[in-house]
């Protein structure tokens, strides 16, 4: 006899037509009044607005143009808009859910998120985690969604003491999680490319 638990449902690929269900505009039609998209920011969201953009590459270095990426992040105070966040500092921003979804473009392969830069988040045993955005990537050919994190190159000091970055032995691999900032048209853009396989393969997590 063993203790009885249900088993997690088997994941299956999102397939080439994931856009129909999750981003119908990209599939080429309009059906819902309210669409979930890649803009996480409302008119009164607190914090420094940023753009995340990048491309997804497969093991041959080719662009993955049919991927869907979701972002989940804390607000500028480092707080998540969820009752399971019991940090004592900062406050929830009612105008920031902290979640969005983006698709890589069928032509250019570029994805983009419009968001705010998250604050530091308290992790296990009170250890501070550097500002980061959790990503979940699905596409045709990906049997189970891939989890990774974006960190920010201009948070060098916080990154150095981040418990998860420190857990990645090779610096070269750690660097795959660091987004590089630049200025475009007066806006701060962080570039974060995702490499599914091969040299410079992004670090993916078993969460």
């Amino acid at each position: 006899m063993s203790v009885k638990y249900l088993k997690e449902t088997a994941s299956q690929t999102a397939g080439p037509y994931v856009h129909i269900g999750l981003a119908p505009h990209q599939a080429g039609f309009d059906i819902f009044q309210n669409n979930f998209d890649n803009n996480l920011v409302g008119a009164t969201t607190r914090g420094a607005q940023i753009i995340i953009e990048g491309r997804v590459y497969d093991g041959s270095g080719s662009l993955v143009r049919d991927a869907l990426i979701e972002a989940w992040q804390a607000n500028a105070d480092g707080r998540y808009n969820h009752p399971g966040d019991r940090q004592k500092t900062g406050s929830v921003d009612p105008n920031f859910r902290g979640w969005g979804r983006a698709c890589t473009d069928f032509e250019t392969g570029i994805y983009r998120f419009y968001t705010v830069k998250p604050g530091c988040v308290t992790g296990r045993s009170g250890k501070v985690q550097a500002p980061h955005i959790s990503l979940w990537i699905v596409a045709r050919g990906i049997n189970m969604g891939l989890n990774t994190r974006i960190y920010f190159a201009d948070e060098e000091k916080a990154n150095e003491s981040d418990p998860i970055l420190r857990g990645i032995e090779l610096k070269k691999r750690r660097d795959t999680l660091i987004a590089q900032p630049s200025q475009k048209d007066g806006k701060t853009v962080y570039t974060f490319d995702i490499v599914l396989q091969g040299e410079n393969e992004t670090v993916f997590f078993d969460v």
Binding site: K4, G21, F29, F32, W72, G84, D85, G145
Partner: protein, 257 residues
């Protein structure tokens, strides 16, 4: 799923404890590996490094929440939600069931999204070029929130099988795609539901990526005549399970509580 024991700890032990503790480790024995040559597209899209296991923090144990005000009244009715000058064509079906966690508890108020081909096996998608016709009255997607017990339902037409380029003459069994959130980003899951009795299930390379026969069987929805609407709509039952959370009988020092 009816002989479940709830593993919820007694309420008096949980006072002050985080109601959203960390999740059970994922059981990969019942999940497809990333690299599955039988499904050819996975060959170049599968990481070759091992996934890095991380202890859960608040970043993994929380996730986005959605409200009824974000959904439209017809979002869970695929027969009507894209109807232009008539209703969608095909066998009318209801799909219903529970979204549970591994402890057997229903996950309330969680977003469930679904999408599918039309009755002829054609998707309303700019990249689908299969010769079967588009149904002008069928969009092929919908969404709903589970109720307080984790129950969901929607109405649609039964999708058709269609060919795809894996092997020459590969056909996907009729299926509906599901996207689930649970209440933690680490529970996020996409899967596919198949229909009882479909002979294409046994020869589908995408299904064959799953190494566990029982796990495959759980993706096959049985006909549920009792839930049918007589003279109108057949029904299929499909329960889905997301990762469970640990009990917090004695709290670890976790998120700096």
């Amino acid at each position: 799923m009816n002989d479940l024991v709830s593993h919820a700890p007694p309420a008096f032990l949980k006072e002050g404890a985080n109601p959203y503790p960390e999740l059970y480790r994922r059981d990969y024995a019942a999940q497809s590996p990333a690299y599955t040559p039988i499904y050819k597209t996975s060959v170049l899209r599968s990481p070759s490094n091992a996934l890095l296991s991380i202890d859960h923090t608040v970043s993994e144990t929380t996730g986005p929440m959605f409200g009824h005000n974000e959904l439209g009244l017809l979002d869970n009715d695929l027969i009507m939600n894209y109807a232009k000058d008539g209703e969608a064509i095909g066998p009318r079906i209801i799909v219903h069931g529970y979204v549970l966690d591994e402890n057997g508890r229903g996950l309330p108020n969680t977003l469930v999204e679904f999408w599918q081909a039309n009755a002829g096996g054609r998707y309303r998608h700019k990249n689908d070029t299969y010769l079967a016709p588009i149904d002008p009255n069928f969009g092929g997607c919908g969404r709903t929130l589970t109720d307080e017990n984790g129950y969901y339902y929607f109405r649609t037409i039964r999708p058709g099988a269609y060919p795809w380029r894996n092997y020459v003459n590969s056909w996907r069994p009729a299926h509906i795609h599901f996207s689930l959130f649970g209440n933690a980003f680490a529970q996020r899951l996409i899967t596919q539901m198949y229909f009882e009795g479909d002979p294409l299930i046994k020869v589908c390379p995408i299904i064959k990526t799953i190494p566990d026969e029982e796990a495959v069987n759980r993706l096959i929805a049985p006909l549920d005549l009792n839930a049918s609407v007589p003279d109108d709509t057949m029904a299929y039952r499909f329960d889905m399970v997301l990762r469970g959370r640990r009990s917090t009988l004695f709290e670890n020092r976790l998120e700096g509580n």
